[in-house]
Amino acid sequence: MTTAREHLQSTWRWAVQTARLCCGVPDYDVYVAHLKEHHPEKVIPSYGEFFRERQEARYKGTGGRCC
């Protein structure tokens, strides 16, 4: 059974994740989990570092938005 509070928390998490992805920033926690699981030798970047790297990457590709 999920309580109303948990519902609210998951909705908020969804909203934040969507909003960040709309700006080209994928989920940080997912990335950290991925690094720990598959690349334990790599240094885990802070959220700030991760954010900067993604910000640069967003405007390098082609397309990404519509008219």
């Binding site: 909003a19 690094l35 598959h38 954010f51 910000q55 390098k60 519509c66 008219c67």
Partner: protein, 693 residues
């Protein structure tokens, strides 16, 4: 979610029958009731019913029969999960991301321009177009990319149609992008001409963005939500302050520019914004515009539901005969060119083969994201059309007709427009300008101001208040200008990389994106290309939009035709010839529309050729034609029209070339007795370790 076993229960069947009946009834009211104005709610209800039926039945057929999506098959996100670009993501998050990426100024501007023919042609084309063309394109390209490691449209074209076809398409995309940037920048120019209030608020976004950029970089790194709220508050303050700036005898003139001045400012700004580091200006504006866009679309929907406006524009006007003032040309093919985004937009094929396919965790979800996302965009287009059609038609035509046709004073405009059958008094035009806090509403073509007035009136109905109409008007202008300028910055950067890539084929040194020489050179070329068309629009005798929007429409539909051709070729290559018409019919329709429109823009009374000839003849006879006052200006207009002529011819050549490549690929594949497509091999989702997913 298992699509293959999704079957209707008896209750479900009754429900869908009911939705169909309600939809048909509403559509009947929209289409058949004549003489008395109808309420916008009929249009909204008809659209929702059509979208639901299209989604439930047609998209399901595409998913199960044409694309044969398989929920048991591992997607690129699962197979290549790197936590950054390829990440299996919740379907609703992907949906939100995809919608934010495809929704732009296009679906807001096109339907407003098309409203000159009445609301009915636009509504019908958006509904039919999205179900059978636009959403099919987005969904199928997404499906194809999903089966090909999330490859881009260009890459898929190279693989399936051949390397030459890939290069041709790449050139097409670059030219399309230059036209998109020019025409969108022109929308901003038309909205801000001699509008100190609007110009001030748009200018204020630059220091606000710089502040946000520094905050995000150094003060609170990566706190997008926080900084966006700060940005929004500052933006609203700047709208409020704009009224005082416009009213001030010292500051008002500082922000008062004519179209040429604004065009030069935008060109200079576009150059600076795309060579500066992205974190400083481009990215923060992008965040702000993304959230403002989604928020404003929601606000518009809410306002339409609450205000439930009556559509004052007739269902069909006499301008379906091609004599309309907003854009020239008959209903066929120009309606289908004018409303591009919202019904079918080629640009989406780039997004559907960009980030989105790298995020889906299950093939079955492509239907909701690809097809469903496009239905949402069509709904935005319907709302824009409602906002425009709920305006007084006299006001609509005063705003959107070029001065060459209706004159430059409210008296002349009111007389001309009343003669067209849309009775309006000069004082009504003066009053509306006063209400929205502007000097005049005349000559504001381009969709944004019309939509802003429509939105302002809707919002004003919901939240009344003294002087609020002017606030809402400038809010709507700011919101459109903000995301158009973000598109211009980001587009210039993308264009720059494309130019560097092409230049790199000749001189490898130029390809290095870190090199300042290559960077500045490519940026200058890119800005020069769209800047030329923007400036051309600013000095155009018919106000610019009238001339450039059809070019944009032709280019955008050309890309859609190419994307649908790719889908057709792959369908045949997979030996699913039975379903070849699903992408084939819209592909043929768009090829016919673009070629007919292109031909009419090349030869005949509404062509660029005829416009160039008219000015050339006048020049030879020693006369000056408005708005040119000098021989040089006359020659400029002649050159501009000849450039547009050449560009139209290039687009037509591109369409024909790609069609021939497509037909060749289809014929080869048809003869083969086994599938010949380049799909990646099947990997079962169940075989991928759960931890990776």
């Amino acid at each position: 979610m298992n699509i293959a076993t999704e079957k209707s229960s008896p209750a479900g069947k009754i429900l869908w029958a009911a939705i169909s009946i309600v939809g048909a009834w509403c559509l009947g009211v929209v289409a058949l009731r004549r003489g008395e104005p109808i309420n916008a709610i009929w249009v909204v209800a008809a659209s929702i019913a059509v979208f639901m039926i299209g989604y439930r039945f047609y998209s399901r057929m595409i998913a199960t029969k044409v694309l044969q999506l398989d929920p048991s098959r591992a997607t690129p996100a699962v197979l290549r999960n790197d936590g950054l670009d390829y990440v299996p993501t919740d379907k609703w998050v992907v949906f939100g991301h995809h919608f934010a990426a495809i929704a732009g100024a296009g679906p807001l501007v096109g339907p407003v321009l098309a409203a000159q023919m009445g609301y009915l042609p636009g509504v019908l084309w958006i509904l039919v177009g999205v179900i059978f063309a636009g959403a099919v394109q987005d969904f199928m390209i997404l499906g194809l990319s999903l089966r090909r490691d999330g490859r881009s449209l260009g890459h898929m074209l190279r693989e399936e149609l051949g390397p030459v076809a890939g290069v041709v398409a790449m050139v097409g995309v670059l030219v399309l992008m230059m036209i998109v940037l020019a025409v969108l920048a022109l929308v901003v120019v038309k909205a801000l001409t001699h509008s100190p209030w609007g110009t001030f608020t748009v200018a204020a976004t630059i220091p606000i963005a710089l502040l946000m950029g520094i905050y995000l970089r150094y003060i609170r790194p990566g706190r997008i939500l926080e900084v966006s709220i700060i940005g929004l508050v500052l933006l609203l303050t700047s709208i409020w302050a704009g009224a005082f700036v416009a009213g001030s005898p010292t500051w008002g003139p500082v922000f008062d520019f004519d179209a040429r001045g604004l065009a030069w400012l935008l060109i200079a700004y576009g150059f600076c914004a795309s060579v500066l580091p992205v974190w400083l200006l481009l990215a923060p504006r992008d965040y702000l515009s993304t959230f403002l866009k989604i928020g404003t679309i929601a606000l518009l929907a809410l306002a339409i539901f609450l205000a439930a406006p009556t559509l004052q524009m007739p269902a069909v006007t006499k301008f379906i005969d091609g004599t309309g003032p907003v854009f020239q040309g008959n209903l066929f093919p120009f309606l289908f060119i004018t409303i591009a985004c919202g019904a079918v937009s080629g640009w989406h094929s780039i997004i559907a083969s960009g980030t989105t396919p790298k995020l889906l965790s299950n093939e079955g979800e492509a239907r909701m994201v690809g097809y469903g996302g496009m239905l949402m965009e069509a709904f935005v287009a319907i709302m824009a059309l409602i906002a425009a059609a709920s305006l007084h038609p006299g006001v609509y035509f005063a705003m959107n007709s070029p001065a060459a046709l209706v004159g430059t004073t409210v008296e002349q405009a009111a007389t001309t427009i009343s003669q067209w059958g849309f009775v309006v008094r000069p004082d009504e035009l003066t009053q509306i300008a006063k209400d929205i806090g502007e000097g005049t509403v005349l000559g504001r073509a381009g969709g944004a101001p019309t939509l802003a007035v429509g939105m302002a009136q809707l919002l004003h109905n919901v939240i009344p208040g003294e002087g609020m109409l002017a606030f809402w008007y400038h809010y709507a202008i700011l919101f459109e200008a903000l995301f158009i300028l973000t598109t211009v910055d980001a587009g210039t950067r993308v264009g720059r990389f494309m130019i560097q890539e092409i230049a790199g084929l000749v001189h490898p040194e130029l390809k290095k994106t870190e090199s300042w020489t290559g960077n500045l050179l490519a940026t200058a070329i890119c800005v020069g290309l769209w800047g030329y068309f923007l400036y051309q629009g600013a000095v155009d005798p018919l106000g610019g939009i009238n001339t450039l929007w059809p070019l944009f429409g032709i280019a955008n539909q050309m890309l859609a035709a190419i994307a649908l051709l790719l889908a057709t070729v792959v369908t045949v290559k997979l030996k699913r010839e039975r379903y070849v018409l699903v992408p084939g019919i819209p592909a043929i329709w768009l090829i016919v529309c673009t070629l007919t429109a292109g031909y009419q823009k090349l030869i005949g009374p509404i062509s660029f050729t005829a416009a160039a000839q008219k000015y050339a003849d006048a020049l030879a006879a020693g006369n000056m034609l408005a708005p040119a006052k000098t021989v040089a200006a006359m020659q400029q207009i002649i050159t501009n029209n000849r450039v547009d002529m050449v560009l139209t011819a290039i687009f037509m050549l591109l369409v024909v070339t790609m069609t021939l490549f497509g037909i060749r690929a289809i014929m080869l594949a048809w003869k083969n007795n086994h599938p010949t497509t380049h799909e990646e091999p099947y990997v079962a989702l169940a075989s991928v370790p759960a931890a990776t997913r």
